[in-house]
Symmetry: D2
Subunit: 244 residues, 4 copies
Amino acid sequence: MILIHKKSGKKFYIEEVNKDFHTNFGILKKDDLIKSKPGDIIISHIGEEFLVLNDTFIDKIEKIIRKTQTINYKDIGMLISLTGIGSGSNIIEIGTGSGFLTAFLANIVKPFGKVYSYEIREDFYEIAKKNLEKLNLIDYVELKLKNAYEGLDEKDIDVVISDIPEPWNLIDHAYKSLKFGGFFVSFLPNITSVLKLLDNNDKFLFLGVYENITRKWIYKKSNVLRPRNVELVHTEFLVLLRKI
Amino acid sequence: MILIHKKSGKKFYIEEVNKDFHTNFGILKKDDLIKSKPGDIIISHIGEEFLVLNDTFIDKIEKIIRKTQTINYKDIGMLISLTGIGSGSNIIEIGTGSGFLTAFLANIVKPFGKVYSYEIREDFYEIAKKNLEKLNLIDYVELKLKNAYEGLDEKDIDVVISDIPEPWNLIDHAYKSLKFGGFFVSFLPNITSVLKLLDNNDKFLFLGVYENITRKWIYKKSNVLRPRNVELVHTEFLVLLRKI
Amino acid sequence: MILIHKKSGKKFYIEEVNKDFHTNFGILKKDDLIKSKPGDIIISHIGEEFLVLNDTFIDKIEKIIRKTQTINYKDIGMLISLTGIGSGSNIIEIGTGSGFLTAFLANIVKPFGKVYSYEIREDFYEIAKKNLEKLNLIDYVELKLKNAYEGLDEKDIDVVISDIPEPWNLIDHAYKSLKFGGFFVSFLPNITSVLKLLDNNDKFLFLGVYENITRKWIYKKSNVLRPRNVELVHTEFLVLLRKI
Amino acid sequence: MILIHKKSGKKFYIEEVNKDFHTNFGILKKDDLIKSKPGDIIISHIGEEFLVLNDTFIDKIEKIIRKTQTINYKDIGMLISLTGIGSGSNIIEIGTGSGFLTAFLANIVKPFGKVYSYEIREDFYEIAKKNLEKLNLIDYVELKLKNAYEGLDEKDIDVVISDIPEPWNLIDHAYKSLKFGGFFVSFLPNITSVLKLLDNNDKFLFLGVYENITRKWIYKKSNVLRPRNVELVHTEFLVLLRKI
């Protein structure tokens, strides 16, 4: 359940509604929480107003546990628009991490597509599992505690996505798992790794290396409109290869 | 049906397989076309090899008729990752144009979500209809030949997207159609229009104005790896507002 | 006098050489400091090596007192290359601040050009004066404790540079002071101010609004080469106008 | 002599004033040209007005003969602001080309600094010579028809700039020619070359690799203010090394 404190715009994510919820802006009573629905206003014991929102995916995913660095929103957008991932797509992800990208993809490919996600660390596997359960997306994901370097089990896949440091070890496996026309995407922070992947690629058609600088602008009624000064300008290069 | 000429990497999109297909690399016979499936090689009458690909969405959308300027891939990616549009989302689009963004969205929200798309020009409406039919996405779209300034018919919408020049006229209508927590997104090429929209916004929470510079890199085996020199660095500002 | 600690690459700027200098890497004796020249190695009392550098301008300017936000290096570069400022140029700067840009310009226009710099705050005027004296550039600058809105005293100027928030008040004054063919440059952080300046400009030829995203890359021998993650992507818009 | 056609803003550069000058906007008579001075208006035989400008460096450099690709304005600005090149600096340039960067630098280092510029192709050497003569900057430049790989003649140099494809061959020579504290700058279009230079650098302190995306905005009175759509986003990486 998601609430917004009207004055500050601050969001609160409530997991259990059958007890009182404490905020800096006063206590919200469990009786009010239980009976409320999206659009309702709940008033705290000191008179502050909170609006009940619909539980949108974008709010919920913000609140998942992240023990790993996750793929940035801007890079997820680039991935989806370059490969045309849609409802029904079948995807392999290598490097589940906290399951952030996994969730984003599951939310799109559901209900008839699937994300097969490989992870070698058991602690990450467990975190991802909990996150996907909390987001009600676990049905569209097959989490695999397995080393992708030893092979990929699936066939006829639309997109294989690597978020691990040495994707050149995956070239053969990814090629076998993909449909003709399918994409092999690698996220890599260093250009040296991009170069090594491309120099080692003897199977796929090279489509491009992409990077993305997204700027957010600030606006205030008093004639302030300008780009935010400091920005995350580098996260990952996206290498796009295609099976033909 | 999509073919790739193996030597050049050039793509061919064949709409009718029951006749011969002429290319710069020779003629492909209809008998070969009819019986082929993804992964097969078809050989032209002059001996050139063509690989049969799966019909991926991203290939098919490239080939639709575009009579209007369409939202760029990079901006579609930004839209999806910022709003969390997924399978099942219900979306209003204002300004159908050729139906390019419409198709991208329909491909994600299907089979249980829907895109309601408003257009005032009948010629665009007809082009978009044909494009969506060709892409087999028409079932997930309701095309409306209707002026959005006069009101929007739908309720409980996840995201309202404006791709028209004067979105300030849509503030009240978008607000009424959206769920609590829903997003109103406007694409605008001029910062002056962004400013006018924000100065006129008396209903929505302002989340940000976003813009996106995507660079593509070139790679050749002989030690060439560099960003493409010239790039489309400006298309649209994306204004993100939220109903709370 | 500038020293670099060889192991760490850390720079030390010594103003007085006739006393011992204390660092985290040991004490440098005044006798060693006095007799050393560029290229010499000085050894601290704990055996650490320091190399004596030539006093380059770029080292010295880093060390000046800055009480104000200063124009960024990238924007100084853009200013110089767009206007062709060179040795012998005569320049008016409005908004001296700490004298950072003033010093950069003086170092280029000397010995026969001049920077006339206007400032209304006496504390800034005093800081700038000290900074320019320390840099031995005061002879090429005329610092003026004076409100530029009331008029500019000079004629036949090559470039007038505004680093104050309301340059539209300077349009007439700048026009009178400039040569035919001279440039009026305004640095402005908000696009709303850019718009106001351009809408109010009834005298100058508009050449362009410029902005500059400079990225720095990180390199380590162990195959690390990538853009720095976080970068100052927005500082100022540069508005370039010309008297014709 | 530089004129601007007032209505169109189009610039004309007249090399010989003692004959009539023909434009799309009519003929300018030689008598009018000879007696005019900056600020005057000359009227063509069909009544169009032309304003006489001062001959600024930035206008003149636009008109020089360019037989080679030249370093872009944005990269020249970055070079100057990162190294603090000023009046009196002594600079070695390797790869004179058409002399474009040479001229920019000479215009700054004059009258007491010097640019020593190496070129191996005689045709480029001749073009550069003519260009520098036309710009009255030849006195501040020593053009050398000589292979820099065989050694550099000068000592005590402030900045060595390489604009050739294999700067790793210059590391030792540049090191010997530079002052302690001096900079070795390489312009390189490919990141693979950047990597090779850095991997081969065993003498200099690495300061950074820089790149620069400069955007120009378009403005029209009718509420148009937006970045230009297409931009030259990649020219060269600038590698900055320092002798310590």
